[in-house]
């Protein structure tokens, strides 16, 4: 039963253990080339915008996946960090004329500080209680964004965010923005893969499998959970920053409860603890509402159905599930 077996396609792909770095570099290069080709080939502004949104959602899904998929800590308020990033840069660049290049670290830093303050008490909770705690946090941030109208513009939103500019370089065309966002996506994918495949990543996965046992082998679980929460918040804030300078307008509705649930859905559908799954889940949930325009009012119903179907039939997420099916099919064909 336990003869040494070959690594499955999936394990090679996710590189949880023994994928050599050469192979991984090739994947990155293919990814980068694909991004460049798509960026140059697609001229239609609508499609470009769609692709940019896929990129932003990938950042969000990836950030939550680090926390939820790898460390096993659920967050139902992740859109709050997305919102903090977006509003921070909006207020700084529009109201105080801070250059975006300086607003970026401020936006990420603010989200990280908030994550730190919120994380210390919240991450003591586990399971459903952690879910409830983060849910409450998300709602508080949403309410603050909506009600603190002197700063945030209130429920009607915040207008007049300037385009991204660094000195003479202004990024205002869709195409440039596409390249910027996807460069960030690639950067974050590399960053996350490296973390997952290191001492820190192993400790995170250990916490996921058994927090008590992780502590018993010497992992400071409290500290590590807080660290990954802060990292995750920072990545979500980066997405928020990019979103604000893409749309030039932010409103609280974008960062509410539904947005948080959508991020969770992306992670679950793409596959927990799967970095490339985040990309897939984000793509699907960005495109699906566009394809299902006829259902627009029933969007949440469709999300719910997808979530249920995936959880019942492919509990490891679509990416893994499909690869599992593919392997089963290949095995039966080999016989």
């Amino acid at each position: 039963m336990c003869a040494p077996r070959e690594l499955s396609v999936l394990e090679k792909f996710n590189g949880s253990d023994s994928m050599d770095s050469r192979y991984r570099k090739i994947v990155y290069i293919v990814f980068a080339v694909a991004v460049v080709c798509i960026g140059l080939a697609v001229k239609n502004a609508y499609y470009l915008q769609m692709l940019i949104f896929i990129g932003l959602n990938t950042l969000l899904a990836l950030s939550l996946n680090m926390l939820m998929g790898y460390a096993g800590q659920i967050s139902l308020g992740h859109a709050a960090f997305y919102g903090i990033g977006a509003y921070m840069t909006a207020v700084l660049t529009a109201s105080y004329h801070v250059p975006p290049l300086l607003a970026l670290p401020a936006a990420i830093g603010a989200a990280m500080v908030v994550a730190w303050i919120v994380g210390v008490p919240t991450l003591r909770l586990t399971g459903y209680y952690l879910g409830m705690g983060t849910l409450g946090f998300g709602m508080i941030v949403h309410i603050v964004l909506r009600e603190w109208s002197s700063v945030t513009g209130g429920a009607s939103g915040f207008v007049g965010i300037p385009p991204l500019a660094a000195g003479p370089l202004v990024i205002d065309s869709e195409q440039h923005y596409f390249f910027l966002v996807w460069a960030m996506v690639l950067l974050c994918i590399i960053m996350c893969t490296r973390i997952i495949d290191s001492r820190v990543g192993r400790a995170l996965r250990a916490i996921h499998d058994g927090e008590m046992a992780a502590a018993a082998v010497g992992v400071n679980t409290k500290k590590l959970k807080l660290q990954v929460f802060i990292l995750s918040a920072g990545m979500a804030a980066l997405a928020g920053f990019l979103y604000a300078h893409l749309i030039y307008f932010v409103s609280p509705g974008t960062f509410g409860f539904l947005a948080s649930i959508r991020i969770v859905t992306m992670v679950v559908i793409g596959g927990m603890a799967s970095i490339w799954g985040s990309l897939f889940g984000a793509s699907l949930l960005t495109l699906l509402p566009e394809w299902l325009h006829a259902f627009s009012e029933f969007e949440m119903v469709v999300y719910g159905l997808i979530l249920m179907t995936v959880m019942i039939f492919l509990p490891r997420g679509l990416t893994r599930g499909v690869l599992d099916l593919f392997e089963r099919w290949r095995k039966t064909n080999d016989r």
Partner: protein, 268 residues
């Protein structure tokens, strides 16, 4: 085989859960480079004592000293850093991770790469990773599982999971290793092999505190036995002395003895 240096000292330790006094006034010492067997009937407080030594919960009273230093109030992961590692009664492996990764997590306190280090992946981090991997493979070889390095630990048969957990505990380079019923669920030959491994570990300079119901194993490998019954220490000494101790016999065979007495009473 044993020298006189005291590695672990338990002094007048009490622990109660609600109204139940799980441990009362327990004191004993554990010599460096020795195997100490901790035995007693179910509910005697053996696992509770393990949890106190490893910092899972604090003692109500008394003191635990490790290497001459009081470790009261230390947290679980800090104690691992000081050199106390353990295995669990119901194997607690990281099931979604491979055997090799499990052992590498075990080295957590002996490696230093942090979040930023892992992202930058500088040469010293790559070296550390390589060293950790080599050592993990050596440990797998030690317990005879090197062929299954890339197998998910949850897929291994139970006996091997126990061995893997033992290797993972050793990866922390402990001075004191606590084994909570390591032979439970193992067959005869596996148990014999385990006994050999435990001796080898001791000979490499690691002291062992062993909770085990398999008396053959415990009596044959232990240098000293401590017996608990209903939260109190009732005997302590070399295996032979403990085996013939009356209090111990009473604790283990108490009912039988009472029945005998009862029988003799009715006769007379």
């Amino acid at each position: 085989m044993t020298d006189n240096r005291i590695l672990l000292e338990i002094k007048n330790v009490d622990k109660a859960f609600g109204g139940i006094r799980a441990l009362r006034d327990i004191s004993f010492c554990l010599q460096d480079r020795s195997i100490t067997g901790l035995i007693g009937p179910n509910g005697a407080g053996k696992t509770t004592l393990f949890n106190l030594i490893t910092g899972i919960f604090p003692a109500d009273n008394g003191e635990i000293r490790f290497n001459g230093r009081s470790v009261n109030g230390f947290r679980v992961h800090e104690l691992v850093g000081l050199g106390i590692a353990r295995t669990f009664q119901n194997v607690e492996l990281f099931e979604s991770m491979t055997a090799l990764e499990n052992i590498m997590v075990g080295m957590h306190t002996r490696t230093g790469c942090g979040m930023i280090g892992s992202i930058l992946r500088l040469p010293n981090i790559i070296n550390e990773e390589r060293r950790a991997r080599t050592k993990a493979i050596d440990l797998l070889k030690f317990v005879g599982l090197e062929k299954y390095a890339h197998q998910k630990s949850g897929d291994l048969p139970f006996g091997w999971q126990r061995l893997l957990e033992l290797a993972r505990a050793l990866a922390a380079e402990p001075e004191l290793l606590l084994l909570d019923e390591p032979a439970a669920g193992l067959n005869m030959s596996e148990t014999r092999e385990l006994g050999g491994l435990i001796r080898q570990i001791r000979d490499q300079g690691v002291s062992i505190l062993l909770v085990e119901h398999d008396m053959n194993l415990t009596m044959s490998i232990s240098d000293k036995i401590v017996v608990l019954d209903q939260g109190s220490k009732i005997a302590e000494g070399p295996p032979r002395a403990v085996q013939s101790d009356e209090a111990v016999m009473a604790a283990y065979l108490g009912k039988a003895k009472k029945q005998e007495q009862h029988a003799s009473h009715t006769k007379s």
